[in-house]
Amino acid sequence: MRKEAGRRGMGLWVAALAVYAFLYLPLLIVVIYSFNDSRLNAEWVGFTWHWYDVLLHDEDMLAAAGNSLLIALTSSLMTTILGTMAGIAMHRYRLKALTFMVMTPVAMPEILLGVSLLLFFIQILNLTLGMVSIILAHITFSIGFVAIVVRTSLAGMDESIFEAARDCGASPWRTFRHITFPLILPSVVAGGLMAFTLSIDDFVITFFTAGVGVSTLPLRIYSMIKIAVTPEVNAVSTLLMLLTLALIVLASRIAPSVLRFKT
């Protein structure tokens, strides 16, 4: 009996290891080859920081990184504010339609969202594509994530706390400032960090809404790959990976429940 269970446990471990290997080996290889002293990704030659040096002197790449950061900062800030408001509204009014409208962009295929935003910006708003259109697009698709996180944290709270605040003499605004906001703050911050990572590595929607003048990090990497995959791509990917990881760790520290959601 025990032996049986033990053997099955073993099988599960092997399966799990295989899955994790499949997920993480490619990432690991990207990281390792960013230190490869060769122009090609084919074979390991020796250790070098060279490609990171190249990266730091690549004007286009730096400009793209700057754009990405600016877009991610601006859009995640806006998303955090709007998404928090949406989350609170979804919790308070429990309107099915509201939830539906906020959540749809989360579930919508990115390509569809990209195309429709493109058409909307050009044909309806008559907007010149560029930073503004990218930021607007990023806000659109990440609002729902912040809203869910905020709403979930509110749903887990005892409603009478907010009534108790009113009872103690706090107006609705002061109830929000002293009670509601401090209580949802971890979720708001975690949602904001999530919006930031979603924005910084988005490709599809950015591709449709960027126009010709502006490039972001993912777009730049893509156009480099079209020519040749040099270890510079590995280097920039490694840095991006580090940034994303750091943000995920930060988000999970601030609100452990966040990691239970799909991103």
Partner: protein, 366 residues
């Protein structure tokens, strides 16, 4: 003038009247209890006093002033919620200071009164703890402290002891009584436990299905219930169908079908000849008012009948006998076991005589 006046208040949820034309008047300094079974509208009344619900009709007056246009935060009323509703991100001291902060008191004032209140609810050593680090009883006291710190005119308590275990609950009951006496704040207390209501209150309003059945002092409520519901809800009582033969000034004569005639005390609120003979209702008498004896003791009483012991329940301090009477009624009698060996006196199957004094029990008009 009463501190709180509730005048013909009705509150509906859809078609259902959760509170149905209720009028109450609560005096300053009172410990007033709303008692009733689950769903009778107690919480709904409290929430209307606190301002979380508005009455559909009727008025709520505090110090003679209609509260209809006053939002919860402007009412000099505090609530102790059943779930305590402490702010989890604030320490005990911050929780207690919150109402003072909202009232924009001076910082040194806030500090002084918070410290006083912490002493009052015996939590001075827990001031810097967070609510989730406290026991149920301690959380309860934080909630009380937070509600009392700004000296409200009225304190509303919604089943504050329901979540505590029996021993702690008794302790908190005593604490509530002394706290109320100490601070002199008017308490409106909600419970569905009749023993708790009897032990704590100056006056009790017994509610049933959104209506108030009777408002009285605990002893009056227990001794002179005015309806079958109240008689039944508070303590144990023997209830038998009865018909008035004569309702005179000093006494009432009743006919109990299958049993005979009994003499009962005058019916409350009925002047001589005010109650027609033939009026139907019920005669109700408490088990501890029923005497039980082999032949002698009970037979000396004006109302006495033979019966047979069918059941007995030894409870230590008392023994409860269930006696079967000639007309098929089962009457409960309660005898204290103060004399040694008292519990052994009657056995199941014994033929006994039960009786009660002519001034015991009440006639309840149908």
């Amino acid at each position: 003038m009463a501190l709180l006046e509730i005048k013909n208040v009705t509150r509906r949820f859809g078609d259902f009247a959760a509170v149905d034309n209720v009028s109450l008047s609560i005096e300053a300094g009172e410990f007033f209890t709303l008692l009733g079974p689950s769903g009778c509208g107690k919480t709904t009344i409290l929430r209307m006093i606190a301002g979380f619900y508005l009455p559909d009709s009727g008025q709520i007056l505090l110090d003679g002033k209609d509260l209809a246009d006053t939002p919860p935060e402007k009412r000099p009323v505090r609530t102790v919620f059943q779930s305590y509703a402490l702010f989890p991100h604030m320490t005990v001291a911050q929780n207690i200071a919150f109402p003072l902060k909202m009232a924009r008191c001076a910082p040194q004032d806030i500090q002084k009164r918070t410290r006083e209140t912490l002493e009052q609810v015996r939590l001075a050593d827990k001031a810097e703890h967070y609510p989730n680090e406290l026991s149920g009883g301690q959380q309860q006291r934080v909630a009380l402290g937070r509600a009392l710190v700004s000296h409200p005119r009225l304190l509303l308590l919604d089943e504050p002891l329901a979540a505590l275990d029996a021993k702690l609950r008794e302790e908190m009951q005593l604490e509530l009584i002394s706290l109320q006496r100490e601070v002199g704040v008017t308490f409106v207390f909600v419970t569905h436990a009749q023993d708790e209501a009897l032990a704590l209150s100056h006056r009790i309003a017994v509610m049933n299905r959104g209506r108030v059945e009777q408002v009285d002092e605990p002893s009056k409520l227990y001794g002179f219930p005015q309806s079958r519901f109240v008689a039944d809800f508070i303590g144990h009582i023997n209830m038998m169908d009865a018909q008035v033969i004569e309702a005179a000034h000093g006494h009432t004569r009743l006919a109990i079908p299958g049993l005979g005639e009994i003499t009962a005390p005058p019916v409350a609120g009925v002047t001589a000849g005010g109650l027609a003979s033939g009026a139907k209702g019920a005669f109700a008498i408490r088990p501890e008012q029923v005497r039980i004896g082999i032949h002698g003791e009970a037979a000396e009483l004006k109302n006495h009948f033979p019966g047979e012991v069918r059941n007995l329940l030894y409870r230590g301090d008392v023994t409860v006998y269930k006696v079967h009477l000639a007309n098929g009624l089962m009457v409960e009698a309660l005898l204290p076991n103060s004399a040694p060996g008292r519990a052994e006196i009657f056995e199941v199957g014994d033929t006994v005589s039960i009786g009660w004094r002519h001034d015991a029990g009440v006639f309840l008009h149908a």
